[in-house]
Amino acid sequence: MKKVAAVSIAMGLACVGFAAQAADPIKLADVCELSGGGAPVGNNWKNAIDMAVAEINAAGGVLGRPLEVTHLDTQTNPGVSRGVMQKALDDDPYIVLGPIYSSATMVDLALTQQAKVPEFTGGAAAGITKQDDPYIFRMALGQTATIPKVVNYLKDKMNVKTAALVWVNDDYGKDGRDAFTEEAKAKGIQLVSTISTEAAQVDFSADVIKLKDAKPDVVFVYTHEEESARFLKEARKENLQAAIFGDTTLLDPKVIALAGDAANGIRGHLSLSAGAPVDAIQDFVKKFQAKYNYVPDHNAIQGYMTIYTIKYLTTKIGKLDREAFAKAMHGLTITPKDEPGILMETSWDNTGDIDRASFIAEIDDGKQKIVETLPKLHH
């Protein structure tokens, strides 16, 4: 009798242990810009990640295990970001999410590569995927995809002959400047003024006055959210006549909210948008708004897609294997039919660059209005 009881207790304990192991969460580390200049993008990204994680956990998790995400703040400072990334990696996460800013990603990616932990970045700088790093994957369209689309549109649809470029002096801005300068030259658009600005710059008066003197057909603005809003307000204040065009960030809802009327009339390329004429994105926007009471930006959509990408591929592999995950990401295409949470058909190439359809939008009465859909670059 005693033997039976002992065996029963041992089996019971074993079952409890197994159950506990089976329910162990899959740890994800989110290293992003929760304060400082990048706070608008970081908080959008974070909120959408939390939403996707909650949805997946409510539906039973991934491979029967819940996802657990830890958010760490880079303070929009690449130096801080490196320390925070190391802290995140010390906790042995399955996947790292973020950062969003290219400058932070550039200093962090060596750490994730060394630790062999796949990293999903929101960074768009062309250099990110030129590091021969098999563990880095974009969620934002890279500059090698967006800038050619922008310049083609300026030349073919807006008949632009002269352009001015306003760029932010960091990795994101420098790569954008180089890509735009090269593409504009190739397409025969004359660059009449190139203005460097600083991250967190507050006074744009001299910059706008220089642009007025240069009299370009279009000003291409390649700065971060808050600086973009300040630039637009200054451009309106100084009555800048040239058309203003941007890429994704310039048309961000946060920029529109901060710039107010000054944002009306600007145009730009959007890699993703809450106003995109895609049913799945519209459903996501409704859920996000119901939960957080504001319109999500492209970073939120990307954050949401990231979690569902992880869910899809991990389920497909059938185990938690970082190396297999990273290998399978290269050349992967996920369609909404495969995984509804991906929202739009998305592909990654051998370098980790992403490819998706994108949009041209105009700000009308404080709202993004999609005026054209551009197909995937490699369709």
Partner: protein, 292 residues
């Protein structure tokens, strides 16, 4: 030429903000030998008082300004003096300097925690309407910032030179011991200086926030530039601080337009070094004398 005039106009508007903050630096130094390294955060905070009045109390923008300025005068004037400056000033210059640096950090973090780390839109007193004058297009917002600041500074100068209280404040600044012997209520005069500084930074905050947006970190660069402007103009003269503000504002714009946008943020420091080397008392400052 049109571009130069626009740069000057815009530089004057920017300089006016620096001048208001720099004047506050000078006032506090003259009255109580306090170098307030939280001055930038003092310029940042009133905008959040106004926003809080609008969001939490549901007041109109006009009434929120009234509440915001009143709160600023109490917090950044009265409480700043009573809770920080008075207890620490007896221990000399350095503890107070360190304390104001700590205060600046505290204000910044408190705003970040209570409001948001993100920039917030702030309503404008004057809409950004362009004003055409021949070939030159100026901004009504720039003109209004300049006019408001000039009125404030002129009123301050009139108060200090033409009223009994103002002259008594000057006497206190020039020779505190003698002022005490003559029966001047020195403590009250010093308090007035702190209240005046709070009023000046409130005005600067309300004027600049529609353009810079309301953000917890706005004080970082403003404080440094205003401090530099005060030294460039003359730390012991209000009119020097005003001149310093305009010089830095205009020079900043001209540098960005004609020399280099990349190195514009270095300009105030270059000016600072040049002034320290060649005219340590500042453009209008005096080597020894102290006046408000």
């Amino acid at each position: 030429m049109a571009g130069l005039l626009q740069l000057l106009s815009s530089g004057l508007a920017t300089g006016a903000i620096y001048a208001l903050a720099a004047t506050g630096f000078t006032l506090l130094w003259q009255a109580s030998a306090t170098v307030n390294f939280a001055q930038g955060e003092f310029v940042m905070l009133p905008a959040f008082f106004v926003l809080a009045s609008m969001q939490l109390l549901g007041l109109s923008f006009g009434w929120s300004i009234v509440v915001g300025v009143a709160l600023s005068i109490v917090v950044l004037g009265l409480l700043f003096k009573r809770l920080l400056v008075d207890p620490l000033s007896r221990y000399g210059f350095m503890p107070l300097v360190i304390a104001t640096i700590a205060l600046g950090l505290f204000i910044k973090e408190a705003v970040k925690t209570s409001f948001s780390a993100e920039a917030l839109p702030f309503p404008a007193l004057v809409p950004p309407i362009p004003v055409h004058m021949g070939d030159v297009t100026l901004s009504l917002q720039d003109i209004s910032i300049f006019v408001f600041a000039v009125i404030a500074v002129a009123a301050l100068q009139l108060f200090l030179t033409r009223t009994r209280t103002g002259r008594t404040m000057q006497a206190t600044a020039q020779n505190r011991a003698l002022a005490v012997i003559l029966g001047v209520p020195v403590s009250r005069m010093i308090l007035y200086t702190f209240l005046l500084n709070a009023a000046l930074v409130s005005l600067a905050s309300i004027l600049v926030s529609p353009i810079y947006l309301a953000k917890f970190s706005n004080g970082e660069s403003l404080g440094l530039i205003a401090f530099t402007a005060a030294i460039v103009g003359g730390f012991n003269q209000v009119r020097g601080a005003i001149l310093g503000g305009f010089v830095v504002g205009i020079a900043d714009n001209l540098t960005a337009a004609y020399i280099s946008t990349e190195y514009r943020s270095a300009l105030p420091l270059v000016l600072l070094i040049a002034i320290i080397l060649f005219r340590p008392q500042g453009l209008l400052g005096r080597s020894e004398e102290r006046t408000v």
